[in-house]
Symmetry: C2
Subunit: 288 residues, 2 copies
Amino acid sequence: MAAPSQPMVSEPRKALRVYLHLKDRILSGALAPTARMPSEPDLATQHGVSRVTIRSALERLAEEGLVERRPGSGTYVRSPSRTATLVADFSNVFTHLVEMGRSTEVRLLAFGYMLPTPAVAEGLGLDPGEEVQRSVRVRITDGMPFSYLVTYVPKRIGISYSEADLRSTPLLELLERSGARVASARQTVGASQAGPEIADALGVETGAALLSITRIVKDETGAGVEYLYALYRPDLYELQLDLERTRQGRSMRWAAISPSAAGRPAGARRSEPRNAKNPGIVKRKTTR
Amino acid sequence: MAAPSQPMVSEPRKALRVYLHLKDRILSGALAPTARMPSEPDLATQHGVSRVTIRSALERLAEEGLVERRPGSGTYVRSPSRTATLVADFSNVFTHLVEMGRSTEVRLLAFGYMLPTPAVAEGLGLDPGEEVQRSVRVRITDGMPFSYLVTYVPKRIGISYSEADLRSTPLLELLERSGARVASARQTVGASQAGPEIADALGVETGAALLSITRIVKDETGAGVEYLYALYRPDLYELQLDLERTRQGRSMRWAAISPSAAGRPAGARRSEPRNAKNPGIVKRKTTR
């Protein structure tokens, strides 16, 4: 690698590369817990970047609890920190979301009516020119914003509740109150980089990776009643699905274990402590 | 915002901000399809950055098919492009992965034995000092790498197959051939930023958002047989779960619809074309 130049300002793109590289090495075990990291000048030479850049990468690792900086001694890899995460059972995530609506705080960022984007119009099966109610909410748990929710509801349903209702009541409950008979949903899960506004609302850096869920909810007639685009901070929220192998005739299959689908009591398959107030949400300690 | 300075080099961090901001506006419909974008000098003034930075952000949007640059005329928002994505049915993802093992190409990047990280040892329930086989594979479909898979298997099972076996045969099949009776799995889904090595292997930019799945597979006795950490390109792969509402006594519940869990034929609930060769994978056109 070329000898580093030594600018006095941090190079953010290079700092991101070094940060992600070191993070991978720590999480994969290549840099073992308690190990002393190479010195800043050595890291700078290794990576062909300035010391300022190395310092910026190490600061971000320290903020995330992956390393510990001991003044006068050096930087040490920490035993992976155990951070609290909301874990939603994916196969039954709706029930939990209603419960979450009651236990977490909601901030309403936007509320109004508009013509939908093509994707929303197609997902909800709207007539051309049919308007939707669009709302943007941030959900907060323990003072930490963890999800950014953009929802679109056909205007004919949306007008049955107010902005104030949406601040206080889970959307699914409002939809049902309006007479919609919610019957099915399709969820698609992906990942996305946080843009500046979303990063700001969720308290993460621009460009941070977020878990994304697109959900289209339909009523008994197959008409769309809600289109949700949700972004979650992966350090605070993850999805979980338990699967078991079942015999079906001569072949083995995998089936999601969910209380209603598998016909078992919800408690029977859980080894982790449940949050008594929110039985759908497991607050657990995860090893990062 | 301050008047922009005009450096001749792009400012990557600022270009990322502008790119993500404009992308959000296009995907949310705030910038409508076919609309002409503001000129480069106007965008530079609006965002307080150089024209070089604006050009770099617009180039990335153009590469992703979100805008079209017409020389001498300007930059136009495109109708959201429809890109092919592998969609895996989340509630039955295993069966599909075996099928994918047969239909996609695999590149083996690493293979060896090592002491596990604390998270892997805990996940698999290993004795202290027990080694694991670690492999790193990249899975490719239509010439595009879409997943980066790191697997850990207890050494006592791993030694039953070779590096060459792993290049040609799905891991789940190798585990079963070794006598392991695979019975259950827990999958956790999140998101992560690509480090430089992983970005390189998947053909994305360092820092790009990836979908992550951690899966712990156990045998009939509850012993861990596989720990998987998988990263997926969200533009090429997403997870899907269909849910339906069911009445259980007096309360309504949500249940995952999967062929074996809900006892329906697989075809009955699908409206999208299936890939005939890989019935577990839906190749569909998504509207981004």
